[in-house]
Subunit: 413 residues, 4 copies
């Protein structure tokens, strides 16, 4: 029935909420301290103890790998629509996704290998990933070019006999900071003379391959997002066997198209969760603080903003559910307009709601004492991840204009 | 399934689209001319011939009274969710609703009598209304007070023996302009000493009752919206039998609450239809006009606006469907937050999209030659009809704050 | 001194305010009635008695032709900066400009003839115009093309011996409705083979020339703006002597550039006056109406909107003063960025403030009983007049980008 | 003349620009490295070598203490209007203000002591401050209350004989992190039984007084803003002589009102400088990057945003100049509406422009490699500093409403 969760999803949502109340929220401070401690020790790029502990519990409760739409050896098999409300909850605490083995970019990487990998590749990389034993990174964006246009990619993947020789500089390679990160999916060009969308390939590059240098972490608005991080990676004459290619030479663009749908919708679901939490915090703060003789909640513009927040969040959620349902029913490719729409809408909503919540908190809102500052930085970044808003808006507009152009050609003169 | 039309609705949508293609769009110019002709003759407050003709056809095709959620003697029985996409289509041509006996304020009035009227009242007024023989008006808003707060209403309904004596001045009484309008539902106060929400009553007042004077039409942004219009009505010692009260003395506020849900959602559905049409016109114009060497559609900000329009419309539609579904499943009262949200969202979306479409059309956009100018005026007005945005935003915010306050009280100290 | 009126302007502002208090505001209702009366009589396209009466008084007080920056035979000679606050006041009452012979499009037309006309042309047309004896129209926009790109203009002005033969269809020819309108400035193409910006010419066409047909009034959002109006005009083999050309054949584009600056800034000044009046009305209404137990002014979002209105208006005024000062000091051409900026900013500000004022008034805000509805329609139209916002924003952006491009080329590698 | 710099200001602007070209921009990277180095060494709360070097040069060139409107022993004496464009330039590089001894919060503190201090206080604290030998902090905001309402302040300043005993917890005490910071101005309550605005006093508290503990730095969106920082400070039985009070007991609110004007306008000027730099970077990036076959600057929405940025920046600058001129001519108190307006407008403009610039840069925009990420965090914070937007908007609205209420009372009935 409309907008109603399926029985399966309802059960999982209930269990996940209990898990959050029992294990996640009560451990937010511990996570904060463990990260601070690792920083003081000079190396925050390691697994966080509390996360490792909770992974065991989550796994034992079956709250594990829920992101995976096609089942793999008994895991996953939850549709995008059923996963949406689960992923939303994970958006409330930035580090919680990993507890359930549902964190970016691993989810996207696992799904990619599951869909496009050989059995050998799955055995070697997908299984330890699904098991939460190792982490992964996706190396696409390059500092030297506007990477939102994938045809701009410069990284060279040259075949020499049975090997590919890879040279390039990547950055914002999320996840590559972690000491557990063992495998990179690298996008580059195998044939610059091929047709525009057949030049790219994706290859699996183990992180410890000679020639791979993780140079430095990039920060996002002052945060380094350790332990996973966003790294600059230099690839110099990196050699991997040709069997490491995914799907086939020249099919990198095709994989990118298929991969980006799920990755984007997960970001959006989490953004909605973040917006929801920010709205709750805003309401609570406004009702607990007094100025000029009455609670802030009764003053000035706050009713307007609370109402606008509720309207925006509910709309973004429905739009995301709708996109998930489309992906489930007609496939990621035919849901491209819907995916592009949520990618524009969801992070803009969360940015706005978090911004208002910060105003409600005053200086406290930008401090390290509340989740809002970190959420503000992160949600702002989501507007760039997987392509800036502008690229998605252009895509939506072109589809819309094409629809009308087709109609007007179909009309008799 | 999510966001999918029911089989029943799908069939009706298909038939309604055919009707529009066959009978409505091809007659837009005729309607324009007939109205112009009646104006030239000095009296546009009469039934429009083309509408009367089409009513017969629509009725014969069973496209009639689809707005009515509870069936009455074999008519209606279509849920709000199933009616939503039908009503959206009617929003594309402002006069089309009447063709299907689905135009405001008659729909709201009919539903009110159906829900709260006696069999006698139904026999006398509901049946000719459902038959499309007469029209009706709803007299609530008063020029002297901020009528968005229903307790401000000044109109006096004093009981004298078996009669009510009514005195008051109403305005923006939509529908009261038409010569077919035979019955008014009047809201006033029967007991100013009662509890705040038990002072109001609603009574049925035949238009030809002595003491009723329809003073003048009010315009909305330059339009008089003939033939139905928005009238100023003076009630001076108007006497009706006490049996004309709806539901019971002192229960006017209760009816208003129940009545406003459907009225509001119909407005919203039509606003979405208007936005959709404006977007289509915008795309078509931009692709057909050239400036500075290329089609407008390839220039500057238009991709952005088309994409934003599509995102806003799809979100507003999903939010409206969701409200309709709530009304169908938990009732109008428990869907009040959802109804308030769409009442804020939908007309603001349509105003924005029509505004952009006008920019795409240039001067033509504000002229009488295109539907946009009229839509711009009308959609702007919808932001005031049934309460201005501000009142609804406050209501949403209060519900949200109350939800949080309840939670925080429930927590142990 | 910064933002301070010059002594000259201060004196004129003082006198103009007195005139408004004495003669304009007290006559708003009379004007309304006289227009209504003329409409009832079937011809609103005539001079309005109250305006004609007040013109005599204004002229006798020297409040006449203040718009004219270069003095002509003892008239005008007030700089743009000094005129700005005067014009702003006129923006408060839409028909007031004509009282001071300062109404569009006559001001732009007079300035054009004053700057580019021959003494003969000035004698014949400028003098009666400056005297307020006749009115004028400017025929540029065409229904068939995107006229914001002046090179799209299709109207043909073909030379045959000592005459021009003009053929074309114009619309939104403002002012052409009035029975006093005696002269048109027509823009068309004298040579379609010339360089892009040398194809156009402007010629003076007396309205009673054979072949001129004023076809119909166009409305703007439901208003016909009688008595001046916005007309569709057909030109069929209209013949005028070649001496009627302004400045010279092929120089129409040049005149358009010179003409548009003053016309645009006058619109902007008036928009600011309209916004200021709307803000006053909003404050007054909010302080006089009570809902839910307290004045509207103390509720919800109104403080926010009043503050935003004040900020926007003050900024728009300073920007307009700045543009006026630039026009006075470096000339209209070098002030093109400043003029483009106010053309975007001012009407958007007035649209927004009027929109909020309407929300404060509720239904009354869109009715004929208050000035707001008319202002809403008119200010919306200003966003299209002399080119839609989009065209001006593009112009500003190109200037900005060129400035940076020049700098970066100047830098050593 | 309107909007024109005075000859004095023009000369200073010229010299300051040369200084920036010669000494500031070329040292941005050095500053970055020196800060990074100090962090690596574990203590970034020390003077930065490059700043100390440049201070000597700036002082020798007379580019020193330009912020001080009233001259003190031969220093300062530059009006707010003349200082405005200088301060704007300093807004382009966040650490540059200190080079000219013009950085917050020292400027506000120095002006406060200059205006309200005794000669003794000036000798002891103002002179080393003006000399750039020491730094200062202003302790007002408290974590426990909504500090935008100054009457909420809880810090207790109790008199005991010839001493004040101070107890309280302050936070976001900007500048208190630096090892050079030697003096605090502390706001607290000397008499909670006095009239609402006479309870507060300000006292000078040397940082090394027993009982003062600088607990920790607060971050703003991930930045600690070392070396000055924003600190949490605990005051436990801190004793200072009563002669340390500024202006007199119970006059703290009065000082706050006088102090905030200049502090706010300096923030606004710097925000405008930041916006201007962001716009330049946006234009340059868009012209240098290519995607989908053409420079980003020719695509989609960028013309719109560049134009909007230019319009917003120019308006904010004019509004700020106007406020400065008002402060110079009618005094800070009567310029309160103007100051409140710029405090709302300027940082919102800079936030918006920086936000767009980040979109133009893609991921690079949020990284540590470009100034934009830091500017984004800082400009966001300016919307909270010296009171959140909401408080200022309320103040503006109240002034506006009062103005109208007064007028309507003045009218005869």
């Amino acid at each position: 029935m409309f907008a109603d969760l399926s029985p399966k999803s309802r059960v999982l949502v209930g269990r996940l909420k209990v898990f959050f109340d029992t294990h996640i929220y009560p451990n937010e401070e511990r996570h904060h301290h463990e990260m601070a401690e690792m920083r003081r020790e000079g190396n925050p790029w390691r697994p966080v103890p509390v996360v490792e502990e909770l992974k065991v519990i989550a796994k034992s409760q079956g709250l594990w790998n829920m992101f995976l739409p096609h089942p793999y050896e008994g895991q996953g098999g939850i549709s995008n629509l059923d996963y949406a409300p689960l992923c939303e909850i994970m958006g409330r605490v930035s580090w919680s996704g990993e507890v359930f083995n549902c964190s970016a970019p691993d989810t996207g990487n696992m799904e990619t290998i599951e869909r496009y990998g050989t059995s050998e590749q799955k055995k070697t990389w997908l299984e330890p990933l699904l098991d939460g034993k190792i982490r992964s990174a996706f190396l696409m964006t390059e500092p030297a070019v506007a990477s939102s246009d994938a045809t701009n990619i410069q990284c060279s993947i040259r075949r020499e006999g049975d090997e590919y020789v890879i040279n390039g500089r990547k950055w914002y390679s999320s996840g590559a900071g972690s000491s557990s990160c063992k495998i990179f999916i690298v996008m580059g060009k195998t044939d610059v003379t091929a047709a525009r969308h057949s030049q790219q390939s994706m290859v699996l590059v183990p992180r410890d391959t000679p020639g791979v240098t993780v140079i430095r972490p990039l920060s996002v608005l002052g945060y380094d997002d350790a332990p996973h991080g966003h790294m600059e990676v230099l690839l110099e004459n990196v050699r991997v066997p040709v069997s490491n290619v995914l799907l086939g030479e020249g099919r990198g663009f095709e994989i990118a198209q298929g991969r980006l749908g799920p990755g984007r919708i997960h970001h959006c679901m989490r953004s909605i969760g973040a917006a929801e939490r920010a709205l709750e915090m805003m309401c609570d703060r406004l009702q607990s603080r007094v100025a000029f003789g009455k609670p802030l909640s009764e003053q000035s513009v706050w009713h307007e903003r609370i109402a606008e927040s509720r309207c925006m969040i509910d709309q973004a959620r429905l739009l995301t559910f709708n996109a998930a349902w489309k992906m489930d029913t007609v496939g990621n490719k035919d849901a491209k307009a819907e995916i592009a729409m949520i990618k524009v809408v969801a992070p803009n909503v969360s940015c706005k709601v978090v911004d208002w919540a910060i105003q409600a908190f005053g200086a406290a809102g930008v401090s390290q004492d509340f989740w809002l500052a970190e959420a503000y930085a992160h949600q702002r970044t989501v507007r760039l991840v997987d392509g800036p808003d502008e690229v998605h808006r252009n895509a939506i507009a072109k589809l819309e204009l094409a629809k009308r152009a087709k109609l007007s050609m179909a009309k008799p003169a």
